[in-house]
Amino acid sequence: MPSYSFVLNGRQVTVEAPADMPLLWVLRDLLHITGPKYGCGVGVCRACTSHLDGEEIQPCVVPVADCADREITTIEGLADGDTLHPVQQAWLDCDVAQCGFCQPGQIMAAVALLKRTDRPTDADIDRIENVCRCGTYSRIREAIKKASGSG
């Protein structure tokens, strides 16, 4: 079986996996990184949203082979030790989460958005496709604006 090395949340890792194995299952089933969630497996719900070289990806549709020698960040790698990332802190301040299942993906999508544009407009925020079945969208919007104001 081929083996792939990449940097995961700041740590060098090597896994043996089939080339077409989606990164999501490499993370969850081989590396036990369970923050990225399975919600659809086809890149639609975006509950697994993470970062590849700092850009948003849906690991459920990215083969592990595409990640070789690159840098992956999941929700687990966002905080700096006990200090939360400003977006995570905004999520706490706005009490965004309900069931919580989509929120790692929502946060990673928001971080990626704020990286692209530091003052996102409502139209920018509307383009976030991540599904929240609990319907926390208004608080997500508020938290993104809060994080952009502080960052």
Binding site: M1, C40, V44, G100, E129
Partner: protein
């Protein structure tokens, strides 16, 4: 609301333990919890072992306050609400309170549903903590040889007038030996509440935003292996023949077994499991509905609606027929269950609203006595009623038994959407009869799809019957909400082998939505404003108060450009009431956007206003989704949709740019809140759309 906080007390018991452990009974639901009331008596009744029917509080030597909760957390915030009740009465720091979910019990009330959790726990949880506090204070008084009344409690500590402090943890062993506390063990009056009623961030929020919150699929217990099931294209289709040679030969595949719902693959990872599933060659027999599609279901429903009596003589009629499509629960976390079934015992981990029933059903499915089955209840990634049923857990147990190994079964998203469960489709015929400017009679005749079972299929599907859900949950208030003269209601049903389930707000989500649309149409035909008409016809002043609040806060009647409009609706249920005001931009009628939602609710004492606002926000999105765009089609016995790409639950771009919730101040008993907002939100969205477009919305979702 108008109800006053009753003075009923719950008996509190002390459990024989080396640390302070107290217990209070909780009843079967809010009303039978009242039946458990007891005359005031000291908690010197010693019970050995934890009584299963009780809510048990323990103070550990590590200064943790632990209450094992016989409810499930699926996002509704029950663990936070209970932690707040406990922290309030104990004067403990919220961060020192742990609310783990209890394993399935053998007796008592372990039902999460019917918006009943806070109502059933508010009394017992506070009594429990107040008693624990009294004993801790008494223990400190003895240690310090001070009068107990001079001591106070704060921050999970007892504090003496001279500044000495002792943590609850350091007092718990001695407090366990106190029979009669020397200070009052009564809960605080509401006027002294410092935690209850204050908006509080969820206790699990940090775990969630750091990815640490653990759901069934995140477990590594028992060495359980990833498992998926190949399911038929049609609902209830059956395996005729399977060629699994290619699948078995694939790397990482541990087992392939036939189950009632299809063919299961157990593999090293979910990637291997999905790949092997797709390599199975299965011949399917079509399910029992293979010749049935939406059009036929709709006409059968229409035909099943009872015929109402003739309207009062001399009255004019406002009539409407309404159709609602099937709707998936589609919680973000697909059904997932870990099962380890051995020869003489079984252990299951999953998120369940009905774990006691699940244990019994699983036990009979795998042929074990219930006493040999352990069910661990996990937090769920959403539910909306879906986790009342335990389909996946039963299936996981049967696969584990057949494959002779622990399995972690996950339904794919397509499994979830294509094989149910779903809110039943329904058809409503509503008639408001008016004369001399007043409604003098109101009839609501409806029919909905009900689930038919073939023999043992009930247990195979993990069915909690709708009747069981209804027995535990209060029925929606019928249209006694308005002064509309005599109200007559009747319902018919069309039995189909479609997996159905109670969906947040159950029948009210369709019935009351349709009624609120008719109320608007009556107002229009009487030449009255929808808010003014409701104000003059609502019976309950609490409902008028929430309507007034929403109308004032939402600036009802403000001028909007053509193509935009406001809409309003109200609902009363679970001892609570709510009003919703919506603004919609339907300039493009095929692509409307709800731009603003203002809700006002009276739920009695709101334990956590932030949690209540979150619940209302969620129901607003449910209303937007189910009225405008999210539903399921049945095409020749199969569900057409298969993911969030075509089951179009709202995204950020469909959510209101502005949302606000107003919580009316109340010191009444808490009412239910988790489902309350659905009918008001759905009704307000439909009414706003009607006013913006000059149409009469009749078939939901509108864009389908």
């Amino acid at each position: 609301m108008a109800r006053q906080l009753s003075r009923r007390r719950f008996m509190v018991y002390s459990l024989a333990a080396s640390t302070l452990t107290v217990a209070a009974p909780i009843g079967c639901d809010a009303s039978s919890a009242e039946g458990a009331e007891a005359a005031r008596r000291p908690s010197d009744v010693l019970v050995s072992g934890a009584d299963e029917e009780m809510l048990v509080l323990e103070v550990t030597e590590a200064n943790r306050v632990v209450v094992r909760l016989p409810r499930v957390e699926v996002g509704q915030g029950v663990t936070t609400a209970v932690a707040m009740m406990i922290a309030e009465e104990l004067d403990a720091r919220l961060a020192d309170v742990d609310i783990p979910l209890a394993d399935a019990r053998t007796e008592g009330n372990q039902f999460t549903g019917g918006s009943s959790s806070v109502r059933s726990l508010y009394g017992p949880a506070r009594e429990l903590a107040a008693m624990a506090r009294a004993k801790l204070v008494t223990a400190a008084a003895r240690r310090w040889r001070l009068p107990a009344w001079t001591l106070r409690t704060w921050g999970t500590r007892v504090i003496a007038p001279d500044g000495r402090t002792a943590t609850f943890g350091s007092l718990t062993a001695s407090a366990a030996r106190i029979d009669r506390p020397a200070v009052s063990s009564r809960p605080k009056p509401a006027s002294r509440h410092r935690v209850i009623g204050r908006p509080t961030t969820r206790i699990d929020a940090r775990d969630i935003v750091t990815g640490k919150a653990t759901y069934a699929g995140d477990l590594t217990v028992a060495g359980a292996k990833p498992t998926v099931v190949a399911r038929p294209p049609t609902l209830g289709g059956k395996v005729v023949a399977v060629d699994d040679r290619a699948a078995r030969a694939m790397p990482g595949v541990h087992a392939v077994v036939k189950v009632a719902g299809g063919v299961a693959v157990v593999a090293e990872t979910f990637h291997h499991a999905f790949q092997a599933r797709d390599a199975l060659r299965i011949t399917w027999a079509p399910g029992p509905l293979a010749s049935l599609s939406d059009a036929a279901i709709r006409s059968r429903l229409r035909a099943a609606v009872p015929v109402p009596a003739a309207p009062p003589r001399g009255s004019a009629q406002v009539e409407g027929e309404f159709e609602f499509a099937f709707v998936s629960h589609a919680p973000m976390e697909v059904l997932t269950a870990v099962a380890d079934v051995r020869a003489g015992r079984a252990e299951i981990w999953f998120s369940s609203q009905t774990p006691m029933d699940a244990r019994d059903t699983i036990a009979s499915a795998v042929g074990l006595p219930s006493s040999k089955v352990r069910v661990h209840v996990l937090r769920g990634g959403g539910s909306f009623g879906r986790r009342l049923n335990h389909d996946a857990a039963i299936e996981a147990a049967l696969i584990s038994k057949a494959a002779r190994r622990p399995v972690k079964l996950m339904w794919s998203r397509a499994d979830d959407i294509r094989h149910g469960r779903m809110r039943p489709a329904s058809h409503h015929r509503i008639r408001a009869s008016h004369a001399r400017g007043r409604v003098v009679a109101f009839t609501h005749m409806m029919a909905s799809v009900s689930e038919s079972y073939e023999g043992q299929r009930l247990s195979a599907q993990g069915g909690v019957t709708p009747a069981a859900v209804r027995a535990a949950a209060p029925l929606p208030s019928d249209s006694g909400l308005y002064n509309f003269g005599p109200v007559s209601e009747d319902s018919g049903s069309v039995e189909l082998a479609i997996p159905l389930g109670a969906w947040r707000s159950v029948d009210s989500g369709t019935m009351r939505t349709a009624e609120e649309i008719v109320v608007d149409e009556v107002a229009r035909s009487l030449g009255q404003d929808p808010v003014a008409f409701r104000r003059t016809t609502l019976r309950n002043k609490a409902v008028r108060a929430v309507l007034d609040k929403a109308a004032a806060a939402g600036d009802w009647g403000r001028t909007l450009p053509t193509g935009q409009a406001q809409g309003v609706a109200v609902h009363e249920e679970y001892g609570s009431c709510v009003a919703c005001l919506v603004e919609i931009d339907a300039t493009d009628p095929k692509n409307p956007r709800v731009t603003k939602v203002v809700m006002a609710a009276d739920v009695g004492t709101a334990v956590n206003p932030s949690g209540l606002e979150a619940q209302l926000m969620g129901t607003a999105i449910d209303g937007i989704s189910t009225v405008l765009q999210a539903g399921l089609h049945i095409d020749r016995g199969a569900v057409r949709e298969s993911s969030y790409a075509d089951f179009r639950y709202a995204r950020q771009r469909h959510a209101p740019l502005h949302f606000e919730a107003h919580i009316l101040p109340s010191r009444g008993e808490p009412g239910g809140a988790g489902e309350l907002g659905v009918p008001a939100a759905a009704g307000a969205v439909a009414n706003a759309y009607a006013r913006a477009t000059g149409t009469k919305p009749r078939r939901f979702p509108l864009d389908f």
